[in-house]
């Protein structure tokens, strides 16, 4: 019965949309790729928030490839002349669309609610274009996490590693004991995610900024970068032979099932652990990739607001306001594994790893070491990101040695600009 009601509502709503006449009910159309399981349920919180305010939600979910599918659909929609009200987006995609002049303006609601004061500056860099708010950030994921199976560490008498050498020694000990040292899924974005942390470990935030943000050829081919690639080879030696093409959550499952000791992955992996009934601190550990402590590499999901007809604008503003409301930020991020995009909300309701994440995020924002994740499109445009993927993956799969890889990296980045 419920399905029937819903589809009737949807049909009516769609008819109103296509007729383009005066809109009786305010509504937003939302393109996103949180299409299944917990994250879709989490987004439903927002939908219900808006419905309580009398704003209809036209759902436009397109899954696939971490948003690739949705971005293709978006292009079709913009070309057809009917952009959605709000689109889930990451990093440079937002700035690129803003540069095309396709995005709306949220300055009014941002000023009224004081977003400037509560959103970390590094994050504002992706939510504002030319000084104007164009999108509303939903969350902040941090990507330089290690997830460890505590049972294995206890069994082998290992402490939580705090330096790169200790980390390598721990992986070696696990490997010697018959476990997989490092659980990893061989997909370009996963390798690039590890690479982010490894670069910081090898050359500090200075190298990271110069190489990934300034795209400085000298930094990209520097000895420190060669060292980073060498460290990737070290990581590769602790990965099992079947890694290629494996989904990240299957790699997490290896840590959960006590087959592997560690996984380097963003905080979304936490959901897999919690879902398997594991408790942070007792069953699994979360800590920053050794060598990258004090730094937080992040990516933030945002809803970019498109230029829509005048009639849709009030609903759009209300949606932005609802996204930024502390209650939604907490409710959503509890499910998603990430932390709120505003630093002024209490993290009491989050689990131990989430609270640690929030504290570190605030500290990093303060210290200026909150850096956009290159692997997740928060350091440079898509063309460069993918060019870096190509080299990192090729090297990880043994096509280049470390020195060649650094040269190739500089060349590929230059060619992609």
């Amino acid at each position: 019965m419920r399905g029937l009601n819903m589809s009737t509502a949807v049909v009516t709503a769609a008819m109103m949309l296509t007729s383009g006449a005066a809109i009786a009910q305010e509504q937003v159309e939302v393109l996103h790729w949180w299409t299944s399981g917990g994250e879709a349920a989490a987004l439903n919180v927002l939908k219900e928030d808006l419905q309580a305010q009398g704003i209809g939600w036209l759902d436009m979910p397109v899954a696939g490839g971490g948003g690739e599918g949705a971005m293709t659909v978006l292009r079709a929609r913009v070309t057809a002349g009917s952009p959605p009200t709000a689109v889930q987006m990451l990093g440079f995609d937002i700035l690129d669309w803003a540069a095309e002049g396709s995005l709306g303006n949220l300055d009014e609601v941002a000023a009224a609610e004081g977003w400037d004061a509560v959103v970390p500056t590094a994050l504002q860099g992706f939510a504002k274009y030319d000084g104007h708010w164009v999108s509303a950030p939903v969350n902040v994921h941090s990507t330089n996490w290690v997830w460890a199976n505590k049972a294995i560490l206890d069994e082998l008498g290992l402490a939580q590693p705090t330096t790169w050498d200790e980390f390598v020694a721990a992986m070696q000990a696990a490997k010697d004991a018959g476990y997989v040292g490092l659980a990893h899924g061989g997909q370009p974005w996963q390798e690039a995610t590890m690479f982010d942390s490894v670069v910081i470990g090898a050359g500090g935030t200075d190298l990271y900024k110069r190489a990934f943000m300034d795209l400085d050829p000298a930094a990209l081919s520097s000895p420190e970068m060669v060292e980073a690639f060498t460290r990737m080879e070290t990581l590769r030696s602790f990965v099992d032979d079947n890694f290629s093409g494996r989904d990240w959550n299957l790699a997490s499952a290896m840590v959960i099932n006590k087959e592997a000791a560690f996984q380097i992955m963003g905080d979304w992996a936490k959901g897999e652990f919690l879902n398997a009934g594991k408790v942070p601190g007792t069953d699994f550990l979360c800590f920053r990739v050794p060598g990258s402590e004090g730094t937080v590499t992040f990516n933030a999901d945002q809803f970019a607001m498109f230029n829509v007809n005048e009639g849709f604008r009030p609903a759009q503003q209300k949606m932005a306001s609802a996204i930024m409301s502390p209650s939604f930020q907490i409710a959503f991020n509890k499910v998603k594994g990430s932390v709120p995009a505003r630093t002024d909300v209490s993290g009491d309701e989050l689990d131990a790893c989430g609270q640690q994440g929030m504290a570190e995020l605030a500290a990093a924002a303060e210290a200026g070491t909150l850096l956009g994740s290159a692997a997740q499109g928060h350091a440079h445009p898509a063309a460069v990101k993918n060019a870096i993927y190509d080299v990192v993956t090729a090297h990880f799969n043994g096509e280049y040695d470390a020195a060649t890889a650094a040269q190739e990296l500089a060349a590929a980045v230059a060619a992609a600009q």
Binding site: G65, E68, M71, T72, R75, V78, T79, D96, W97, E100, G186, Q187, P188, D240, D241, N242, F243, S244, G245, R246, P381, A382, A383, N386, D390, T393, A394, F396, N397, G398, E399, A415, A416
Partner: protein, 299 residues
């Protein structure tokens, strides 16, 4: 009877027009939606389009950049390997199964749909199943190990040099049954009297097929080729579902290359250039084929 003939004339002329009127909509949509869009793509390939189409003309620069990309060359080589093996193996298996199935087999009614059904499924549906089956840790290799054959090894999908062959395997799985049906239909269409006459002349079974039956299947071979070639060129879902282009970029095909440059790398100009090269390749193979096929018909 002059009046009647004049009436007949008018009617003939009207009758002459009707077919063209009926054909016109089809022609119009093909001209606009196929050839118009091809023209648009050719134009895009000579612009500096990035995220959205732009109209700044830059000549042939994109083609130069395209061929400087190692991944594009990989994709081209992969397409040659993939298309050749895929078309050859599908044809051999399809023909073989059709011949075997044509031997007064009991249970044909059960076997035929089993051979045919993969064509009904897209790789969005079967992709995960294939991925698991091919994964050494989960699928065939693991199962063989559990059954006690511990030296068994099947890790192509993880191997940079072999992964392209797993694509061939899955693609053959999908289409060979369909090709079988085409050949089976061809075989059933052959007049039995011819075969009987040959057998009376003392021809062996092998000779019978090689000399008489297979040559008579020429039309089926050609239809199969058209279908298989078009599938090979368009293979996209297959790659995404099985390997995502990996390990590394070892299984990139032109279709995946084009999609990723156009839509995920925000390099629409280069993506369009690769599409133009693909279309030219198709044209280079199909136009001579169409010419000989359709030209021959006229006689």
């Amino acid at each position: 009877m002059p009046i009647q003939s004049r009436q007949a004339d008018l009617r003939t002329r009207l009758q002459d027009l009707i077919p063209k009127i009926v054909l016109a909509p089809s022609l119009a949509v093909v001209l606009i939606f196929v050839y118009g869009f091809i023209a648009f793509t050719v134009y895009l390939s000579m612009t500096d389009s990035k995220m959205l189409p732009s109209f700044d003309f830059i000549g042939l620069e994109n083609f130069g950049r395209l061929f400087a990309l190692p991944a594009w060359n990989t994709a081209l080589v992969n397409l040659v390997i993939f298309a050749t093996l895929y078309i050859a193996i599908c044809t051999v298996i399809g023909l073989g199964l059709a011949i075997l199935l044509d031997q007064k087999i009991r249970g044909e009614g059960v076997l035929r749909p089993i051979y045919l059904y993969p064509m009904a499924l897209s790789f969005i549906v079967t992709g995960t199943a294939w991925k698991w089956f091919l994964d050494p840790g989960l699928g065939l290799e693991n199962t063989m190990h559990l059954w006690g054959w511990t030296s068994f090894e099947f890790n192509w999908i993880k191997d940079r040099n072999m992964a392209i062959y797993t694509l061939v395997l899955a693609a053959v799985w999908q289409t060979s049954g369909f090709v079988m049906a085409m050949f089976l239909a061809g075989l059933r269409g052959i007049d039995n009297e011819i075969l009987k006459a040959a057998q009376i002349d003392g021809a062996s079974n092998v000779a019978l097929y090689r000399r008489i039956v297979i040559p008579m299947l020429r039309p089926a071979f050609l239809s199969a080729f058209v279908i298989l070639f078009h599938m090979a060129i368009k293979s996209y879902d297959l790659v995404i579902a099985l390997t995502g282009g990996g390990p590394g970029r070892a299984t990139e095909l032109p279709a995946t290359f084009m999609y990723s440059y156009t839509f995920t790398r925000n390099s629409m100009g280069i993506g369009a250039a690769s599409a133009v090269i693909m279309l030219m390749t198709v044209a280079a193979i199909m136009i001579p084929y169409l010419y000989s096929e359709l030209g021959a018909k006229k006689e």
